[in-house]
Symmetry: C2
């Protein structure tokens, strides 16, 4: 830390040190070429990024004895042998993502990296020759290659329509070059470096500062690309440009990128700034897990290269080891099947089985404290990276103790300093709840303060819609963001949270939303029976404050843990409050009357409302409203405390969707019109099961007869749940004074309740 | 067969024979009590229905050595021990299916049967005592029990709302009684027989002839119930009533049951008539696989009892061994995951993992020719019946060769004599197509002549909607058929077949539809590259004839086998033709323009059209119309030959559905208005894949540039498919003279084609 801080103050120190290190390692190189361990300086050897000479020796010595490694190797060998058989193709760039030239160059970067690694591990010249041949085809093309013909990007690349993908290419190809470095003659190397690598690195950095010189996942890729090729080429200028950004570049602080995010509001840049800013101290990446996954690869692969070449930088200890913490955070941001919660712009189905997470888990294992829980994830992944870290993991899967990676309730703070809200994940038996009270999440953020989604055994119960995009599927808008991402997916009404007066949080404006975050009231997972998080949002609607508390409560009177959802609203004005629940599955039953219209019309005209059809409309029949549905062969019931003026809507996504870009998913919405202060309280139960094979319907009915707000003051809120046996269950929330040790006492209906801590449940 | 025919003519023979058999076996009983094999007469021994004394001995001798059997035994023992612990509950009947008393009595019949079997296998008196105690609680209640209070059924039961379920109860409880027969004193037995079993058997037969005396799955249960208790009680009157129906009962031939089917149009009755009539010689059961599965249990379990007690009847050889053939047919009527095709009224998800199929497979194995393919299904089921047949299977899984149960293309005729149309199943690699050209399918039939559904690896590609019912889920209409089953699921427009002038086949009238069936033109699965079926329907619309040909064609120019769908229509009048395809998944892309309405309206007012919302409408832009969609992470394209007057609709199920009883699934529909004779030709391709983990979209585009009708006469129809490389693929169909050996010659555009058999493809 001290060194890094010094370097920040005096950048010349870094240059000096790198030069010194290069000198030192040159000397060492001639002395002990084959005995250098990865923890020592190996800076003038090759390979040195993800493989080291020592590592390669160890791998070669163990070939055939480490099943997961051998299996991965066999698969990669088969894949690359087939590719070599097919011949090299380096087409003139022309397409957007989803198109042929895009897919081909993407395939090439992956193939080059793998072929390079195979050359090192198998010591078979055919792989080196293949890498060399393809690199020279790129060299021949790149020299005269103009900027990419597609014009949509704020930072057009050369091989791809955006610099981002050019950077992806260089991050991978640097590794390939590192692997064949010694195979090439000095002349060949200088041809490649002068005509391809250095101009390439300059293009994505100096020539595109709006892309390179900012804090954003795009820039992280750019920084890593420049840094990794710099490490291979021993070019300290490039390495420093990677670590600290381009010197002396001024960027328009009000300019925006393709996604509508500010390019560079505060002038920070470089790899270290990119670690500093978007990661919270808990390792949460502000854009959300989908982009964290995407960003993890350049963060970790470049960090690994730095660790191998410049161990004194202690990159894995930077910001209290946040890179390693981020792997843990990311694994915790997945459901029971390993799929990431689709917070903000996130494509569903992305999971810890992705290649980025294979890398992340392997690197975190080797460069962290060899957490045996990570081995169980690696075992599920059933593959490793073909490098030193992957070998360590594969070796220890065989020779060490594997422990389950236990996912418990966890609170992850957001913001560089951990004080910009966060994401609370509550877990209890099969039930998993993700509660978002974070910062905006940069340009990929959604306007959904205090929203949540609910899972059971990895299946969505109440969904977060995710993004409106079909990544890399050309037929759907070239595989890029669809306009419905803005008009629907980002809007507040698309989420399980409150929309006031049919207007999104912060009026749906990034300029406003990106300035604010929600505030945690408390998070408490100490009591195994009550996993709870509570947070407040005061800025989404000026003059209207929201305070939402979510708990998963395990109670012997119930078959499974149930969810308690309390949303207290305090406002200066009368408003219309809409609180939707995007349930998955089919309506079973309600305790209220509703009508279904002959023709379906949109719920509203803007802010996402234009995309919801109204399939049914009713009124609460009394103080307790019940709605049951069937999903994934299980029964679910939402029981809400209501008043007779509450309106109830059944909605269906898909209105005003001319290209069928949206899924036709369902929603149930509580609407409370013309109200100032109020509380929404709902209980969500999962109960029973249905088997279409035995045709048994077990426990298909709710266990609750009434949900009631017993007490509602500035200080306390009490909710009474009566089960069908007549037994009552009382929950009291302290709105203030939420310290764990604070004693409370409250009289409700002549009964006095005393407890310690922010809540009472009995 | 001779004996059975004689008995039919002279029923007294059966009584006489049974009495003689009883006498003979009494003698044998005293001679060799412990060495009787299941193939000998064991009629006066107990147990004798599904377990025999010899079988029980063999089972006991092998306990602990036969894993699948031991595992099943352990699971059943744990289940029944827990039940015994909970105590006996025999509530006064009150509820419909889905309600408590229904579920309880259902649970009781299952528990009794299992407890009885456990007593025999484990020789532990506690199980016999439990059976005895519960039976006497039923005895005490039944004596004075009135008819069930719920009035909806045409044949109300006593324990249940319909005689059908009372019969279910007796089929199972007979087995329990058989197992504890020797444990009970003679006095106890006569009390049970006089107060419970005989009145019970009389109630469901003599007192409910409209239920008992017909050819229908309901009656099969009734017959089996009466027959099985008759076999245990050695009551030849009951056994004969089971085999041949109630003597001398006249039933109103125009009366209908709850499902709208005729009660008894031709006066046949009894178990043998129930085998005779609904099964085709291929073993297809006219109601479809869902009900065949349901009916299999009483068919096979009673047949097994008959085989054990009255082997001379040779029940498994009856109608050329149709009972055993039916098990093979049923297994073939399942998709790659073992789920039955939901032809007619069928609830999706029902599969060969159901308890009925465990029984069917075990009995078919033991009483058939020990097909090693059945062992592989039994291994998948991972359980066996705890009886002689289940033991044989479990034993042979360990000690014999298991072969895969290979599902190939198969044609299953419908109708007692196999001449009432049928169901053709085409299979080629991952693609599976079910083509229905059958008879109406009794009261559970749908109006969907020449319809089809398409599967890939067990996933629906083009779905058959199935039924509109949530079996045993009380909240949905008591778990019974919903009104949308009639207004939607049975209607023609709900299926992938032709609707003319917005009217269902046979005007949706059972009286008409049940008189007709489609006619096979040919079925040919000899060529591994072309699996094909062709059939004609002349009666669904008087004056309009349909001829549909479906093929799965494997061609090296295509990634996977594709489907060719040719529907030729000849009419005396101009009509509107609607041909829908109920695709699963989401619209990707079209080659035609369409508009999406702001408000959704129903496509029509009746015959199912009132349940379809129009989500989009367009016109064919030219001679080839292309529509692609994404489903289950695979790409699909339908390419149709069209004219510019063809209208194209995107539909969504769910209009006029006040209780949300219908799934919101999608459809794509070709409409050809104001047309006399015409041909619809479409090709359906499955291509490529999408992974949300790697985000690679492979082969996401169709391989076809044009589909064209080249030739269309009374005799021949030729279709030309041009792939994107420009290569043409010609298919010629002979509309007549479809014998395999017939030689054809045809000149198209000056080229002469010569071939042998009903089709040409090159």
């Amino acid at each position: 830390m001290l060194f890094i801080n010094l370097v920040k103050k005096y950048p010349f120190l870094a240059v000096l040190t790198t030069v010194l290190l290069l000198l030192v390692s040159c000397k060492e190189d001639t002395k002990t070429p084959s005995t250098v361990s990865s923890s020592e300086t190996t800076s003038n050897q090759h390979p040195s990024l993800i493989l080291t000479k020592a590592g390669v020796e160890k791998i070669r010595a163990n070939l055939g004895n480490i099943p997961v490694f051998d299996k991965t190797l066999e698969a990669v060998k088969a894949e690359i042998d087939a590719e070599i058989e097919l011949g090299i193709e380096v087409p003139i760039p022309k397409d957007y993502s989803g198109g042929y030239t895009h897919a081909r160059h993407k395939k090439n970067w992956l193939t080059l990296q793998k072929a390079g690694v195979l050359y090192q591990i198998l010591d078979d010249e055919k792989y080196a020759m293949y890498v060399k041949d393809m690199l020279f085809q790129y060299e021949a093309m790149y020299k005269t290659l103009p900027v990419h013909p597609k014009t949509r990007s704020y930072a057009r690349g050369k091989l791809f329509w955006q610099c981002l993908n050019d950077s992806n290419w260089l991050v991978y190809v640097s590794q390939a070059y590192d692997c064949v470095y010694d195979y090439l003659s000095e002349e060949e190397r200088s041809k490649l470096e002068n005509n391809l690598f250095r101009p390439f690195a300059d293009f994505i950095s100096i020539e595109n500062p709006q892309f390179y010189n900012r804090v954003h996942n795009h820039s992280t890729w750019g920084n890593a690309a420049v840094g990794m090729i710099g490490l291979v080429m021993k070019d300290s200028v490039l390495v420093n440009r990677a670590l600290y950004g381009i010197e002396g570049v001024a960027i328009d602080k009000t300019a925006k990128d393709d996604d509508g995010g500010f390019i560079n509001k505060d002038g920070k840049a470089g790899f270290l700034a990119n670690i500093e800013k978007p990661f919270s101290p808990d390792g949460y990446y502000t854009e959300g897990p989908y982009y964290q996954r995407y960003a993890m690869y350049p963060f970790l692969i470049f960090a690994e290269g730095l660790q191998n070449v410049q161990p004194d930088l202690k990159i894995f200890e930077y910001k209290e080891g946040v890179l390693l913490k981020s792997v843990n955070a990311l694994l915790n941001l997945s459901d029971a099947d390993g799929e990431f919660f689709p917070l903000n712009d996130g494509q569903k189905g992305m999971s810890y089985y992705s290649r980025e997470l294979v890398t992340a888990v392997d690197i975190a294992y080797q460069h962290g404290n060899q957490d045996p829980g990570l081995l169980s994830i690696a075992k599920l992944q059933d593959q490793v990276v073909l490098d030193d870290s992957g070998f360590s993991v594969a070796y220890d899967i065989e020779n060490s103790t594997i422990e389950p990676f236990e996912k418990k309730s966890i609170n992850l703070s957001d913001g560089s300093n951990g004080n910009e809200g966060g994401v609370g994940i509550l877990r209890n038996e099969p039930i998993e709840l993700v509660f978002k009270y974070a910062a905006h999440g940069s340009s990929h953020g959604h306007y959904d303060k205090l929203s949540f989604s609910l899972y059971e055994k990895g299946e969505e119960v109440l969904q977060d819609y995710g993004l409106a995009r079909f990544v890399n599927i050309e037929q759907k808008g070239g595989g890029n963001y669809l306009k419905e991402n803005t008009t629907w997916a980002k809007q507040t009404i698309a989420h399980n949270t409150l929309t006031v007066n049919e207007t999104s949080h912060f009026k749906g404006k990034y300029e406003i939303g990106s300035k604010h975050h929600s505030e945690l009231s408390f998070f408490d997972s100490d009591n195994a029976n009550v996993q709870i998080a509570s947070a407040k949002e005061d800025n989404a609607y000026p003059g209207t404050k929201m305070h939402r508390t979510m708990a998963i409560i395990k109670d012997a009177s119930f078959e499974k843990p149930f969810v308690l959802d309390i949303l207290k609203i305090t406002s200066e004005t009368k408003n219309q409050y809409d609180l939707p629940y995007y349930y998955m599955g089919q309506v079973l039953d309600t305790n209220f009357e509703y009508t279904t219209p002959k023709t379906l019309q949109a719920l509203g005209a803007k802010e996402g409302y234009q995309h919801l059809f109204v399939e049914g409309k009713g009124k609460a029949s009394g103080a307790t409203t019940r709605f049951s549905w069937l999903s994934n062969r299980k029964f679910y019931t939402l029981t809400a405390a209501t008043s007779k003026t509450d309106q109830l809507y059944f909605t269906r996504i898909g209105a005003n969707d001319p290209d069928f870009n949206l899924r036709r998913d369902a929603g149930f919405m509580l609407r409370r019109p013309n109200t100032k202060n109020t509380v929404f309280v709902s209980v969500i139960e999962s109960h029973g099961s249905y088997s279409p094979v035995s045709e048994f319907a077990l426990n298909s009915k709710s266990n609750i007869s009434e949900v009631k707000v017993l007490h509602d003051t500035e200080d306390y809120l009490a909710v009474n749940i009566t089960d069908i046996s007549g037994k009552t269950h009382l929950f009291i929330l302290a709105n203030k004074n939420v310290l764990k040790e604070t004693k409370h006492s409250l009289i409700i209906n002549n009964n006095e309740y005393q407890w310690t801590g922010p809540y009472y449940y009995n």
